[in-house]
Point group: D2
Chain length 284, copies 4
């Protein structure tokens, strides 16, 4: 968990070999950095590490930390980043007609519960517009009829304009094209209304009803070109009974979608996620 007293978070991954922890923590010791939480995990030849702690020496900027660590990273062939745990992440949210998930993100932004700074809302539907406008947030209506080349350029310009750290698809019911994903290099988190890989595709609740499952779920994942196949960040389920009609399932499904999306966003803002080869490492 993010401690109020923590001043720096470090994330890194590289090929595994003996002595990596000593090499990395030795660097931090030399810089008089007190490690309050360290999680390291290796699997199938890859080494993943997250460090959180406080500067006991004179404070240094994220950029200074990044530059000082560079020689070690080059030596270890390591992808790495330093973060300020107090920084609020710039977020652009995409949504459609379904309101619970977008309102969940709005609510957590308004309450300050999460370190996000909501910059703009993009929607192919007008349902949420009045609320967004009342809250004095930029709202962009980009109807998604016709070919993607007709509306994606505008969406890409909106993103360029707001330069978010994260894009959240809060039940945005339109698939992003490979072109879009190629242009936009920002991480994108989507909430899928089923417990993937069950019930891929449309109408998961109707499928779940017919199959008579006893739990329905939701999945938050990073968006990649493989539709419904991006690296899973978080999942959860809720128990249902025989008496649940499809509309009932949608209602409790919306609850679990909101919780799963919020948990994934929190993990992201806490810098606890590393993506690697179609899977995620999500630190506790």
């Amino acid at each position: 968990m993010t401690k109020p007293s923590s001043e720096i978070i470090f994330l890194g991954h590289c090929p595994d070999r003996v002595g990596l922890d000593a090499r990395i923590t030795g660097f931090f010791a030399d810089e008089l950095f007190n490690i309050l939480d360290l999680s390291q995990h290796s699997e199938r030849g890859r080494f993943f590490i997250r460090i959180e702690g406080s500067e006991e020496g004179s404070p240094q900027s994220i950029q200074t930390w990044t530059e000082k660590f560079f020689p070690i990273a080059r030596e270890l062939d390591m992808a790495y980043s330093f973060h300020d745990p107090l920084e609020r992440l710039r977020v652009v949210m995409f949504c459609s007609k379904t309101l619970p998930c977008p309102l969940e993100v709005l609510s957590r932004w308004l309450s300050g519960e999460m370190r996000i700074d909501l910059r703009a809302v993009v929607s192919n539907h007008l349902a949420i517009e009045p609320i967004i406008r009342k809250l004095d947030l930029p709202f962009y209506h980009t109807p998604t009829t016709g070919d993607a080349s007709l509306f994606e350029p505008m969406q890409i310009r909106i993103i360029e304009q707001h330069s978010p750290d994260l894009i959240v698809l809060a039940r945005y019911m339109k698939i992003l094209s490979p072109h879009f994903l190629g242009e936009v290099r920002t991480p994108i988190i989507n909430i899928h209304h089923s417990f993937l890989p069950s019930f891929i595709g449309n109408d998961p609740y109707e499928q779940a009803y017919r199959r008579g499952v006893k739990l329905i779920g939701a999945t938050a994942h990073f968006v990649t070109c493989d539709l419904d196949e991006g690296p899973i960040i978080h999942q959860d389920v809720v128990r249902i009974g025989h008496q649940f009609s499809v509309p009932d399932m949608k209602q409790v499904g919306a609850d679990i979608e909101k919780q799963v999306l919020a948990s994934a966003l929190r993990k992201f803002t806490e810098r606890k996620i590393i993506q690697w080869e179609g899977r995620t490492v999500v630190f506790h």
Copy 2:
């Protein structure tokens, strides 16, 4: 669950004896009412029943149903009520400085997820005022310094003016006086930030930290004159680890409070709760 096709909900409880189901369902059969869901439970000599279904004959008003059933209720010494499942309940919300729970109620009102009609927000703090005003909802600031006789009369007048079906205390950090509870006969639901009866009173998270518990919870209950002792409606918990500081616990605690409060409100709006002797019957 509330079916779109359901037209009437019936709730009742009375002393148990042989033949009650036959007597009650016979009445509905005579009225050409098709029972789609019936739950009946007896314990310690008390009979509880909930019926949901659709009128196959000509539609009758809630008032007509209520009057027609009256002779049977008198015969059985039964407390009962009829409800329209599509009706939105008028709600007045009380809150203080903590925003997640009030924003959860707001969010579910805005999304239409729940059959509530939020009429007004009362707070002894100004934190939520700007959001409430932007949403064009009546906001009442009733500072709660000094004796209850200085501010409760105003709160009581606000309630009289809006005549709610339900009052929600969404982390309202002030105890309602016996006088207030005597004057206001509306049901009041409170969310308590612990898994009652653990950690009654202030600072439950600090208590939980010291005791080293591995789960923290929340409890939604009806408010009675017994502080923290009203009939429990819903409870849930979330797992924590040794690495959770007290602020971390407050953060995940806020999540579970929101979920528990929302579930309790849904059960209330679905007319699934009967109070009896300090406990609740909550139908599935």
Copy 3:
């Protein structure tokens, strides 16, 4: 839940129409039967009911109840049954090499936690034999090499000899043939080591690892000729993290399999399950 004071359980289902509850509960009232729990649910034109209560008049046998109700059932085109909640169900268990699930069934039989009377264990493997023999239970080793016609006749004879009320496949790693299912009319409950319909087939944990899911589950279902497609009785999941190797997942998977199988058995022994058109109604 099964009350110690309950003396009779009634289960039934038939085409829905107005007045069914009145017709059925009228019968029980005439017999001076006090209904302590009644759950009734209708969907898509089918009516399902479960009644539990106590005889206030002179006690009657299950057979008498069954005969007395017959005219009503014929009139309503209803499938129905009466049960004694104190009766222990005769069970034959099939297993293979994996021990946790079979030992869970054994343990619940030994402790008396469940109303089952374990009569025999059939296995295509010898792993469990020593334990079964020490407990003085009949053990049958039926190797399943070669064609089903070589070993299923023996299995069918074992079942005929013990005439179970229920067959439990406690991680029995062999598919039962349509011939077997045609001959053996006893209900069969299987535990599947995934959250169906995810990861149907072999090696679900390896599939789950590769997909990077964050929950793994188990499914208890009735066995039908559609492999892995029988009506689902119960499901549950357990949270896993990136640090779980496939053997780790098997270990926690075994825990959740045991819990799910035990819950399904309890629901079955409590007479809370009705099968209908590929789904189950599982009463609370």
Copy 4:
């Protein structure tokens, strides 16, 4: 999780200061030890660490590792231990009349699911004796009538004879005296049939029924002289409804007790628990 390839587990805790990770992991790097999992956490001035990995150099015994690390531990004022993850822990189980928990431990020992080696069963009741004898395990009947000085000396001798690594109180319904706890230095894990600190003492289910709680739980904790106040290892809950009588609650309570006890035992056998000042650090 314990990896099959892991050869050594290291646990330690000491006063926190800058550079501890570097000092400790430097030692392992010098010994050509590859760290596969490292979890480190500091709070309130105390540093906790767990390391799991494999020897890339020539294998060394636990004793050699322990001796080599000693100078560092002395320098850091550190309590520490090395463990072989494949070692089975010697366990003595205490139980009374209630069978589900003791049978759960038996079942997990028989299945090999957990690295425990059950050496003996001690009971103040004869209920479990026939099963224990059939399984060829030593069974000791120590009636606990009268003063503790009449039966605890015999229990202490049994423990001395079997020299367990762990004592499990699997619903042993008798409080161990301070004298016993002073003599027996082996860790003792108890399962308590409530979600502590709720419903301390006798009859937690009756208390839970009266209070109308919606969840019941269980707590596994280390035994100390403070009755029901030892450091909590694991807790979990299960949802109940209004229809649950006290016997129903006992039945589902037994399920959750078994799960919680088993989880605590697994954490202990995986060497994931450090006790410190009335709390536990339980690594993931």
